[in-house]
């Protein structure tokens, strides 16, 4: 077999362009698979390590004020392993360089210093026990604002300006993704999580011997629902807004949604890529072996048994797949690294390292190997099954016929007829090439459509639904007179009050803790929209739910749900669902603000105000917000959108760019290989034409028009296919905190078509060389 191996080595060198393009298709499939699986595992590992080492709690509850004396009773609830009462307050920070008010979430640390969850200190240490002027802050804010250890941070606590010294920069599993409550766009520059000593918190917030927040770790096997029920019962008199399990904790939910999305992506996208790559691999190798039909037959006639012949060609597969796998694993490693790097901006873990998942390599390579082997073996088997005498003759020539498509030709040129008959006369080959090209299109679309999707999401959420350009929130509900004060600020064109009321929505067995957003009738600044994006008026007697929330509760429009208000008089009321609305972010519910205020019995109050500020006045107005003590936080769309888009862009564009590159590789792989084989089949004919006086350009045109026709037929199928693939991917990738709109803009269709066309052009360019170097002398002597 040594000689056969030498033959193989020479053939690989001779067919290097084909071998390389096929290997690159393998590499693209393996890379996406390995990168996606490994990215998912890296994130999961980072998450579980952090959760374990920090003892991330299982249940979270917020109350108005409860005495510490009740803590032993809470700890005695069956299933509770540990409970930590805390003081958590949102305050305003006076941060000199900031353009907007900075809000801080202050969390007390127990005297022992070993809080629940345990913080991870990047630098420095927690505030010393009893030290009332020390503070530790979250890394996201520290990085966004370049806050060194030892800096001073001034916060307004209970109306008094207090100065703290930063002793530590820390991470908490509760704020892996730090979002200020009630804000849809996270912005690390204007939100800081801060930890102070319990004594300091007690003194600052008048909470001696009391707590307003608690976290619970469950004993192994405990049922969280039962513990939540018990906690709610015991804490209701103290103004509990309802305990929540981990899955509803903001940071965890966002992280988990993202991880699940990544998990889905690690299956769906590579599956599609891999499916296409395997399909192409199968076809390309099948054709490659069929082109060696005479050789195989000759070897068999010379006495080689079928088995070693099969093995011989499997070695070719092994060589191509090995090359592809090496490139693929290397590509996957780089792709995964880039993905993980772009996640650093989103998630704060003590360590987030890219870990190459071993089994993904094994599985990826195995799938490629299997697909390639099947392609090769079916080809070898079909040749070996023939009698050597038959097989050594070339394949019976195709019996061409006139094609009905010729009627479509503008002229009667024989050259045009040749093209049409070659396409129509070999339907199987044409179909395979066309399908291959059609598959390449959604690959490119899959890389590019994210941009459309994010743009659409931004447009719907931030132009159509949230129409103001600023949102200010108040530390507690304030009289709606404040709106009049705000609208008098120079540059403020429009102000509308909003009311956020914590509620539990209940529908049968299902319930969901959330805040209802109260909106004025005929409001302009927050306009809920139905699924067709038409504005919906807040019905005075009902509730409007986002589609995701309605799904979670299992209700549709006109069903009735129970609203349990979690503050004030804690009323329960049954209301009809009057509309289901489209929301891109989060799970919102809306009611008319007057009705909502009536429910809570608090009179005409607002929790926040949406504003439309004249764009040129945004700067001065933001400055003004900083000096208004009634405002606890402000979000400026102009500031935050750019930040958010930057982050999203990092994540989306990295994967989009890489998927696009892989898609191009696949497109080139399909087109080049089918072009190459087509060339091989036609070389004699083309050389004859050259001898007869056709120029190189004329002969190239004849050959390449054929591909171009196949490409042009393949592309529309590909575009239709893209629609399905994107719908599927969008559905898989949507989750409760983030809905991926299945939007493909014409520019993306156009770009995908152009990229595939260019891949075709590049392939033909690579082949042009061969057409130019056709051996005209050999053709005179060679028999078909």
């Amino acid at each position: 077999m040594r000689l056969l191996d030498r033959k193989l080595a020479r053939e690989i060198i001779a067919m290097r362009a084909q071998v390389l393009t096929i290997a690159l298709v393998v590499a693209a499939g393996v890379a996406v698979f390995v990168a996606a699986i490994s990215t998912y595992h890296s994130l999961r590992t980072a998450q579980s390590q952090f959760y374990d080492s920090s003892r991330f709690p299982d249940i979270f509850v917020t109350v108005k004020r409860a005495p510490l004396s009740i803590v032993p009773r809470l700890g005695a609830i069956p299933g509770v392993a540990a409970i930590e009462p805390r003081i958590v307050e949102d305050v305003i920070v006076d941060w000199p360089g900031s353009r907007l008010p900075v809000s801080a979430r202050m969390i007390s640390l127990p005297e022992s210093g070993e809080g629940l969850p345990r913080l991870h200190f990047r630098r420095g240490a927690p505030p010393s026990s009893g030290a009332t002027r020390e503070i530790a802050i979250g890394e996201a804010f520290a990085e966004a604002n370049n806050v060194p250890l030892g800096s001073e941070l001034r916060a307004i606590l209970n109306g008094r300006l207090e100065t703290f010294r930063v002793t530590g920069i820390a991470l908490s599993p509760e704020y892996v993704h730090a979002v200020r409550p009630g804000v849809s766009i996270p912005d690390d520059r204007f939100f800081v999580v801060a930890w102070i000593d319990r004594d300091a918190a007690e003194a600052a917030f008048d909470m001696e011997g009391a707590f307003n927040d608690a976290v619970v770790r469950l004993a192994p096997g405990a049922d969280p629902d039962q513990v939540i029920e018990a906690l709610d019962r015991l804490l209701e008199p103290y103004g509990s807004v309802g305990a929540i399990a981990r899955r509803d904790q903001t940071s965890h939910r966002f992280l988990d949604d993202e991880l699940n999305q990544q998990k889905v992506m690690s299956v769906t996208v590579p599956f599609i890529f891999f499916g296409v790559a395997a399909f192409l691999l199968n076809i390309a190798l099948n054709r490659l072996v069929m082109a060696q039909r005479e050789q195989i037959a000759t070897l068999k006639a010379l006495g080689f048994p079928s088995l070693p012949l099969g093995l011989h060609y499997l070695k070719l597969v092994a060589a191509i797949v090995s090359l592809g796998s090496i490139l693929g694993v290397a590509g996957g490693y780089l792709f995964g690294h880039a993905m993980i790097a772009s996640y650093h901006a989103f998630f704060r873990f003590p360590t987030l390292d890219f870990i190459l998942t071993g089994w993904s390599i094994v599985v990826g390579v195995a799938i490629s190997l299997a697909a390639a082997s099947v392609g090769v073996l079916t080809a070898v088997r079909s040749v070996v099954a023939l009698k050597p005498a038959v097989a050594m003759r070339p394949e019976a020539p195709i019996r061409f016929r006139r094609s009905i498509f010729e009627a479509l030709l503008p002229g009667r040129s024989p050259r045009a007829k040749m093209i049409v008959r070659h396409i129509a006369g070999r339907p199987l080959q044409t179909a395979l090439t066309t399908i291959g090209i059609a598959f390449a299109v959604p690959m490119v679309v899959l890389g590019l459509f994210w941009r459309d999707s994010v743009d659409h999401m931004m447009d719907v959420q931030f132009n159509m639904i949230e129409r103001g350009n600023a949102l200010v929130t108040f530390p507690q509900p304030v009289d709606s007179d404040i709106l009049g004060d705000l609208v008098r600020l120079p540059g403020v064109m429009n102000v509308e009050g909003q009311r956020f009321v914590p509620v539990r929505l209940r529908a049968g067995q299902r319930s969901y803790l959330t805040s209802i957003i109260g909106l004025p009738r005929d409001g302009d600044l927050r306009v809920p929209r139905d699924l067709d994006l038409r504005p919906i008026e807040a019905a005075p007697d009902g509730i409007t739910l986002s589609e995701r929330l309605a799904e979670r509760l299992g209700v549709t429009a006109s069903d009735e749900i129970t609203v349990e208000v979690m503050e004030g008089e804690r009323r329960h009321i049954d209301v009809p669902v009057t509309a289901i609305v489209e929301e891109m972010l989060g799970m919102s519910s809306y009611m008319e603000i007057g009705v909502l205020n009536h429910l809570t019995g608090e009179g005409d109050v607002v929790s926040a105000a949406a504003l439309y500020i004249e764009p040129s006045a945004i700067g001065p107005v933001s400055e003004r917000f900083k000096s208004l003590p009634v405002i606890s936080a402000a979000t400026m769309k102009a500031y935050s959108m750019a930040m958010f888009l930057d982050k999203i862009a990092g994540l989306v564009l990295v994967s989009a760019a890489i998927l696009t590159v892989f898609a191009i590789i696949i497109a080139v792989g399909v087109v080049y290989n089918s072009a190459r084989i087509r060339y091989q089949e036609r070389a004699r004919e083309l050389a004859s034409l050259r001898v007869l006086g056709f120029t190189r350009a004329e002969v190239s045109r004849l050959l390449f028009t054929e591909f171009m026709v196949e490409i042009v037929i393949g592309i529309p199928f590909g575009l239709v296919l893209s629609r399905f693939v994107v719908d599927l991917i969008a559905r898989f990738h949507s989750n409760e905190s983030f809905q991926v709109p299945a939007v493909i803009e014409p520019r993306t269709y156009a770009a995908a078509s152009i990229i595939v066309l260019l891949a075709g052009a590049a392939s033909t360019y690579m082949l042009r060389r061969r057409v130019y170097a056709l051996d005209l002398v050999a053709v005179l002597k060679s028999r078909d």
Partner: protein, 231 residues
């Protein structure tokens, strides 16, 4: 007319040098029918390839009228073949996806003053097979289509490489008749390569090649008709 002086061709195959032609001088005159005879490796194909603008000699010069066939670039040679040369191959080399008529039309399309393709097919006696694809034609019929394809552009030169090599006796004679007719009626200078010395009788002149040189030239006082040729 063709003029060749001191034509030599050396192929380098691996480390070996193969002399295909050695110092050949040759003139071929307008309307002449020349047969190149010789065993395999005698250099007749190399000579035909150089005359057809498909290959260039290692040394020497070759001209057709005012066309320098040695120093011309690829484009000029293509132009030469397109305008002046008709080829007939041993294995026909028809385009399988085109009918007989379309195969001829294909070449007529690129010629400056072509014959009517139907007339060309009529000359080779295939008026009744116009719409047949090559796969529906016998070998002899295919070769006659190839002859029609070669003469449709009314070439000045018709180069035929073993035109009967793949055919049986009867069909071979039909093809030869077609070639002879083109030579006689269109005045095409015709060069035919063959192993078959019986064909030599049809020629004005017979060039015997051996070992890369013209060993002997025989002029036929009387040209045989196709009917008279036997082998």
């Amino acid at each position: 007319m063709f003029t060749a002086r001191g034509l030599s061709k050396v192929y380098v195959v691996g480390e070996m040098e193969v002399r295909a032609l050695h110092d050949v001088d040759l003139d071929i005159y307008p309307r002449e029918f020349v047969v190149l005879l010789g065993p395999s490796g005698s250099g007749k194909s190399t000579l035909l390839n150089i005359l057809g603008g498909l290959d260039s000699p290692t040394t020497g010069e070759a001209r057709w009228r005012d066309h320098d066939l040695v120093n011309a670039d690829e484009a000029a040679l293509t132009h030469y073949r397109r305008e002046h040369v008709g080829f007939v191959f041993q294995f026909f080399n028809l385009i399988p996806s085109l009918t007989a008529l379309e195969n001829v039309q294909l070449v007529a399309e690129i010629a400056e003053k072509p014959l009517d393709p139907r007339v060309a097919l009529d000359l080779v006696g295939l008026s009744d097979r116009l719409d047949h694809f090559p796969s529906q034609l016998s070998g002899g019929e295919q070769q006659r289509v190839a002859v029609a394809r070669a003469i449709v552009k009314a070439p000045d030169v018709l180069l035929c490489d073993e035109p009967t090599g793949a055919l049986d006796y009867e069909t071979g004679k039909l093809v030869l008749a077609a070639i002879a007719r083109a030579n006689a009626e269109l005045g095409t200078t015709t060069v035919v390569i063959t192993h078959n010395s019986a064909i030599a009788g049809m020629a004005d002149r017979v060039l015997h090649l051996a070992g890369g040189s013209i060993a002997r030239i025989k002029r036929n006082a009387h040209r045989l008709t196709t009917q008279e040729v036997r082998w």
